[in-house]
């Protein structure tokens, strides 16, 4: 289970499409299940499942018809009716594809990707546009795929998704790999720690900065919400609470955050908005 992370335009979809054989690589050597995917040979396509970004179905087709069609292309498919039911698409079974909600279209696309019992599944942003329930369901399915020995390549913007599901994470930007490792390894590197808490708004931060070591930073991120960046140890924590007490405030909802995958991601790919 590998997650490919990267900002918009980083080359995630391009990478996946090269692996699926829809695009030819400009350089380098690609092997998918030991085969060169260029030109998408049938023998390879029979072994992989693909969930393209934005789904893919006839505009007027019913969900059940589409899934049965994709199932017919495989030798030993899962039961399409069962798959529709577990993915919550029964109520949409007679609705034309173009009238399905974004989440329903995504779930149908996911069903099409797994119905043929593939060895390897490419999921390009599988939870984009899904509500939290839909996302849970998809995560559960991906977890089941992994359990049953299906290799999964997932692209996502959601750090939470990559952290929860992936054995390995590859962060790409401008078409290059900028980091590679397990979520644990990627997030445990680096010294940065942070502490967040709530208190009354508008407290004097200069006093706090003066009582903390020089490389620490303190800020009020929103009214009444504070962020201290630096190595958080017991003495720093007591300095902060003492400062709050001086101001007659109680530090509430105190959270010491481990560096998240999102922090790693933003550090590596920058914070400016991508097109």
């Amino acid at each position: 289970m590998l997650a490919l992370l990267g900002p918009n335009g980083a080359g995630k979809t391009t990478t996946v499409e090269i692996c699926e054989g829809f695009l030819d690589a400009d350089a380098g050597e690609i092997r998918v299940l030991g085969t060169d995917p260029a030109g998408a040979p049938e023998a390879l396509r029979a072994r992989i499942g693909v969930m393209p970004q934005g789904g893919g179905a006839y505009p007027g087709v019913h969900a059940g018809e589409m899934l049965r069609l994709v199932a017919a292309c495989a030798a030993h498919p899962l039961d399409p009716a069962w798959l529709l039911t577990v993915l919550g698409l029964d109520s949409a079974a007679r609705t034309p594809y173009k009238r399905l909600s974004g989440g329903q279209q995504q779930r149908l696309a996911l069903a099409c990707a797994v119905v043929g019992r593939p060895e390897l599944v490419f999921l390009d942003e599988p939870t984009a546009g899904m509500d939290p329930q839909g996302r849970r369901l998809v995560w559960e399915l991906i977890e089941a795929l992994r359990r049953d020995g299906v290799a999964v390549l997932l692209t996502t913007h959601l750090m939470e998704e990559a952290e929860a599901l992936a054995d390995d994470v590859v962060i790409v930007d401008h078409g290059k790999v900028v980091a590679h490792g397990s979520p644990m390894a990627l997030t445990s590197g680096g010294q940065q720690r942070e502490l967040r808490f709530r208190a009354k708004p508008g407290m004097d931060l200069d006093g706090l900065a003066a009582s903390l070591p020089a490389d620490y930073r303190a800020a009020e991120t929103k009214s009444g919400r504070y962020l201290v960046q630096g190595r958080i140890d017991p003495s720093v924590l007591s300095t902060i609470t003492a400062w709050c007490a001086q101001q007659g405030a109680l530090a509430d909802d105190v959270q010491v955050a481990r560096r998240s995958l999102e922090d790693v991601f933003l550090e590596l790919t920058g914070k400016e908005l991508r097109q």
Partner: protein, 263 residues
């Protein structure tokens, strides 16, 4: 992952057991879906059945266009040609244009479906719709008094098949290369022009000189005139219509093979 639905996916559910389906089953599944879609899409049915039926009945019963008696003998072959053009060209181009926009061609190209089946499935679906059209239109024409020459029916079937090939290649070329909304406009415009000036409603011989000369080399004129000759006289339509239809198929198909994009 913890979940309230721990039993939703039993262990082993997704254990890989990959492989390609049987080609005939894939063909049947794809063409079955596409044929059903064509027959339940209101705009497609308007184009492929309602308009041909209205023209068949209207042109036979009303003397808007001067035609030799019995009028139905001239009208019916033209309407059969129109039905082929509507399904294989306009209907196919529009369907393919929107199928590409909705990513279905990509979706199918990512399954084990061989590339030749991707095209064959569409052709079989087209032929299926054309069979439905022919049955309905011929039944109505016969009810209106049409008595086609039995000896020409074999030729007519051949011409219809060649017509599906020629119009189908053109439809796939247009729908497979242009944007969906451009395809919609082009396919409908061409349909309308060929209907009036392409030898379908008005026989090639009755069109004004230059237009008539061009029309016999258009797939619409070749198919309609070929059908008129075969079904009126029971003899072969001559070489010209056959060569015209084959020529359009080869040219459009040849370009389509290179130019058609999956999305």
């Amino acid at each position: 992952m913890t979940s309230d639905h721990g039993t939703r996916f039993d262990p082993g559910t997704f254990t890989p057991d990959a492989g390609a389906g049987r080609p005939l089953r894939m063909l049947a599944a794809q063409s079955g879906v596409e044929m059903r879609l064509a027959l339940r899409n209101g705009e497609q049915v308007l184009l492929t059945l309602l308009i041909p039926v209205v023209l068949l009945v209207g042109l036979t019963l009303l003397g808007i266009v001067p035609l030799p008696e019995p009028r139905v003998a001239t009208v019916a072959p033209g309407v059969l040609a129109l039905a082929v053009m509507s399904t294989a060209f306009t209907g196919q181009a529009i369907a393919l244009g929107f199928d590409r926009r909705y990513g279905v061609i990509r979706r199918l190209a990512a399954t084990a479906l061989p590339r030749w089946l991707l095209v064959a499935g569409r052709l079989v679906a087209m032929l299926g719709v054309v069979v439905v059209q022919m049955v309905i239109l011929v039944a109505i024409a016969v009810a209106l008094g049409w008595r086609p020459a039995a000896a020409g029916i074999g030729w007519a079937v051949l011409l219809v098949l060649l017509g599906v090939a020629a119009f189908g290649s053109l439809g796939i070329l247009v729908g497979g290369t242009l944007r969906a909304d451009v395809t919609l406009a082009v396919a409908n415009l061409v349909w309308f022009v060929l209907l009036l000036a392409g030898g379908i409603v008005i026989p090639v011989g009755q069109l004004p000189g230059a237009i008539g000369a061009v029309a016999q080399y258009l797939p619409s004129g070749a198919l309609a005139e070929g059908l008129r000759t075969a079904l009126a006289t029971g003899t072969g339509p001559g070489l010209t219509p056959v060569l015209v239809l084959v020529g359009w198929t080869v040219v459009a198909g040849g370009i389509a093979v290179r130019a058609v994009r999956l999305r």
